[in-house]
Amino acid sequence: MSEYKSEYKVWFGRVYEKDSELEVRKSDDLVQSFEESKSEKLDKIPFSLKEAGIRVFGSEEDYYSSLRRTAIQIAEKEIERELKGSERYLISLLKALDELDLGINLFSEKIRDLEEIKIDENTEKFRRIVRDLKKLRRDIEDEINSGVARSMPNMSEIVGGIIAARLIEKAGSLKRLSSLPASTIQILGAEKSLFKAMSRMKKGKKAKTPKHGIIFQHPFIRTLPKSLRGKMARFLASKLAIAARIDYYSGELKEDLFESVKRKYEEFREKSKAKSRK
């Protein structure tokens, strides 16, 4: 094949270009060639794909019907793969994020120790490692955010990618999360403190039961005065329960869900401001 200038992987096989001549080879396995056609070339294909295809399919009609049939066959396979894989992938990214945080903390401590005893060349090395780890952390965070926006657009809008991914991790899956009542979603991730409180109570001691779990990290709750956080958390959890269901059943963004959360937050903000003015 060395005499050919370029080879193009297209969905129906290979196209070879020599001078201005094209040689078209149809693949025996269209599903395979379709999948392989993810070309790494960043350029546009310089010939008419359809005309090259018609040469091997015989007619425009056959070209399109084969294309459509193959595309559908592949789509069916990919949907299953994607639905199964995407949550697992997000959860593993989340784990990586947490491990990175541990690492960053550990190295940062080390740097402080070294600074105290003034060992310069080593501190620089550790600083570089921390810088790299932080960069990696940002990349992983971006990847989580875009993955959640893609497969859970409603939760993503309401609480952002990281909190949404943590909720899914805690619940085990989006399916499971979508079946939970709002009151459970509200305290997801607070189980540890809930158990602590319960065991204190069992021993006859006083304890407060936790009101907020993971969603407590959300700025819409954190930036409110303590007296309003519980109410906001309850509201947020109720909308999240709806969001999780829509994300699980249709996966399409419902525009007014986030609006209502934002409105509620602004209402509470106003209330707290009015109170503090009094």
């Binding site: 056609s37 070309s39 070339k41 350029d43 595309a71 789509a75 949907i79 996966g251 399409e252």
Partner: protein
């Protein structure tokens, strides 16, 4: 009175009709409803609250889609708008890109009954991954609600849009910038698009879609 009265033809297979004393935008269609829209006689209601293209048309602007053209559609979701474009492009084809599996599952039901739809579960920001599948097209429609959507649109145009071809970009202010004034966001998007395209027309999608505009461009 159950007769459908045609008030106006807007473009191929697109009509404004009166039915049961109400006006509807519809496409002529031999297919069953896809997203909860009504069907009366040969017409499928085209709901402007669900489809930005319908909102644009009801706001008085029309792009004349010829029935034989090829369209690359970015952000097909479950196929609400694509289903109507499919009614219009009786002799054409729609290459429909969507990257989220759940809505795509429902979209596939549509693609199974319509011969002119080629469904592709792909990321619109990576046209190089479908460069060996999608041919040169006459038109690109984009509704992806992404921060860098004008960049994504331009990239796809470079790959697939013929010179002189058209495009429609639906822009949601908040997905580009959640804090800036919508009018500022729109200005920014328009100037980005002007780098590679000439702008034919843009306009609001109110009251159907708040803080959205359509932009019609030529390559």
């Amino acid at each position: 009175m159950t007769d459908v009265e045609i008030l106006k033809q807007i473009t191929h297979n697109v009509f404004l009709v009166r039915y049961e004393n109400r006006e509807f935008l519809v496409t002529k269609s031999k297919f069953k409803p896809h997203y909860g829209e009504r069907k009366f006689s040969d017409f499928r209601e085209w709901i402007p609250y669900r489809s930005k293209l319908a909102a644009m048309i009801l706001n008085g602007y029309t792009v004349d889609f010829r029935p034989e053209i090829k369209i690359l559609y970015l952000g097909a979701a479950s196929g609400t708008t694509v289903s109507h474009l499919s009614d219009i492009l009786e002799k054409g084809h729609i290459y429909a890109i969507e990257y989220s599996a759940r809505p795509f599952k429902k979209f596939l039901e549509l693609a199974l009954e319509r011969k002119n739809i080629i469904p592709l579960l792909k990321d619109a920001s990576r046209p190089e991954e479908y460069a060996g599948i999608v041919e040169e097209v006459d038109f690109i429609y984009q509704d992806i609600a992404q921060k860098n959507q004008s960049e994504i649109f331009a990239k796809n145009a470079e790959f697939f849009l013929k010179k002189g071809g058209g495009g429609l970009i639906m822009v949601k202010a908040r997905s580009i910038d959640s804090v800036a004034e919508p009018s500022e966001v729109f200005k920014r998007v328009l100037s980005e698009l002007e780098r590679s395209f000439s702008i034919v027309k843009y306009g609001k999608l109110d009251p159907y879609h708040k803080d959205h505009i359509f932009v019609h461009v030529e390559f």
